[in-house]
């Protein structure tokens, strides 16, 4: 029985698990919920917490994206083996959880607040997070993956979290303008975006997750 991933028609909190499932070549069903359908889904009694994304596996409904990521990571072999590497993965996981909220603030803000939001992100958020990512990443001999020399939950979480920032026309451009300050991590991100999305420039308006009529 195929796994079912329930979410809204956007990258959001489901993108990291989509990237993992893509790399693992898992055949699953992505169930797009409209606003109205989500309202009903919330009250169907199957969700522990009224949250999306939700992953249905063998009749069990899982919630909390961090839990789902670790479940899928363990199932398909993306959990780093050593305590040191596992710490790094957990560090990226915790950092990206905070970072996602800041990205979402900008990406989902109304048109009149975008300019100020992008400026604030570039001045305050980006230096803190990319500064730390660059520091951690620059120390690594092998720079194709974040942890342990191969794909791990850290990569899917980082790329999945930041993809919606890079695809936003103003925020994406502003982040790329700063790439020179964070050369290693920026290069890693461009490599991964190309690998997963087969394009250097993501098209914000071409939403692949919108329901087909």
């Amino acid at each position: 029985e195929k796994m079912k991933l329930y979410y809204l028609p956007l990258k959001g909190r489901a993108e990291p698990m989509r990237l993992l499932l893509k790399d693992a070549k898992v055949d699953y069903e992505y169930v797009v919920l409209s606003g109205e359908e989500w309202k009903q889904f919330k009250t169907n009694g199957k969700l522990d917490f009224a949250q999306l994304p939700a992953l249905e596996v063998n009749g069990e409904m899982m919630v909390q994206s961090q839990g789902i990521m670790n479940y899928l990571g363990a199932t398909y072999g993306y959990i780093p083996a050593t305590p040191e590497d596992y710490y790094d993965a957990a560090w990226y996981q915790a950092s990206c959880q905070d970072l996602f909220k800041k990205v979402a603030d900008v990406v989902f803000s109304p048109a009149e607040r975008v300019v100020a939001g992008v400026k604030d992100f570039i001045n305050n958020t980006l230096p803190l997070y990319y500064g730390n990512f660059e520091k951690k990443f620059a120390a690594k001999a092998q720079k194709d993956f974040l942890v342990g020399g191969r794909y791990s939950i850290a990569d899917f979480i980082a790329v999945g979290t930041l993809a919606c920032a890079y695809e936003h026309p103003q925020l994406g451009k502003a982040i790329r303008d700063e790439a020179g300050k964070y050369p290693n991590f920026s290069k890693y991100m461009e490599q991964q975006l190309k690998h997963f999305y087969q394009t250097i420039w993501l098209a914000f308006h071409l939403n692949p997750y919108k329901k087909k009529k």
């Binding site: 522990d48 909390q64 670790n70 050593t82 710490y87 957990a90 950092s95 803190l128």
Partner: protein
């Protein structure tokens, strides 16, 4: 080279460090707790040693570890409390995420610079609506388990330290009475907390924990 004992840095309170102390206690691991408050904390913050200028921080063999949940998993891996199966990993994250969300709703009330009046109102709302919702979900999950002595597995794992550390802090805070009033309505959770409070703090009855 051994650069000496592990060091755990935090403010002089339970907060986010207590779960790490409980893990280390259960592991019988030697470490030094280095409280940092006021000016000492400001200096430590600016020392460049902490990635996000936050505590708790763990110093192990000359390296600094930050982000409380990442440290929890690091120590869990070191001392045999890390979940291994896919199902256990999901459950650990489920519980830890749940507690994080619950605390996340309380923090703006406690530390959000509200007036005394607002703080009182919001705290009442918290215990009237938020707490029953979360405890209800937690109770359902734990009550469905065969072994109710541990949250995920049948032995201590990271999520257990997260839970007990959280409630130990709550039960010695100004909100202690509100928690003591509400917990008995959730018998599995109440029994679990009592059992582990006894194990870690030698407290026989939650109501006697002053």
């Amino acid at each position: 080279i051994n650069l000496g004992k592990m060091k755990l840095y935090y403010f002089p309170m339970k907060g986010r460090v207590e779960m790490l102390k409980l893990l280390l206690k259960e592991a019988k691991a030697e470490y030094e707790f280095v409280p940092k408050g006021g000016e000492e904390w400001q200096a430590f913050k600016k020392s460049g040693k902490l990635d996000f200028e936050q505590m708790p921080a763990l110093e192990d063999n000359g390296k600094f570890y930050v982000q409380s949940n990442a440290i929890l998993y690091y120590l869990g891996g070191k001392y045999g409390f890390a979940p291994e199966s896919a199902e256990d990993r999901y459950l650990n994250e489920w519980w830890i995420g749940g507690f994080g969300d619950l605390v996340g709703k309380l923090i703006p009330i406690m530390y959000g610079n509200l007036s005394e009046e607002e703080k009182k109102t919001k705290t009442e709302e918290f215990f009237k609506n938020t707490v029953p919702f979360f405890l209800g979900v937690f109770e359902k999950k734990l009550a469905a388990k065969e072994n109710k002595d541990f949250l995920a597995s049948d032995k201590y794992q990271c999520c257990d330290f997260s839970c007990v550390g959280l409630f130990a802090g709550m039960l010695e805070s100004p909100l202690a009475q509100a928690w003591k009033d509400i917990l008995p309505k959730y018998p599995s959770m109440n029994a679990y907390i009592e059992k582990h409070m006894k194990h870690f703090y030698q407290i026989n009855n939650l109501f006697l924990f002053a």
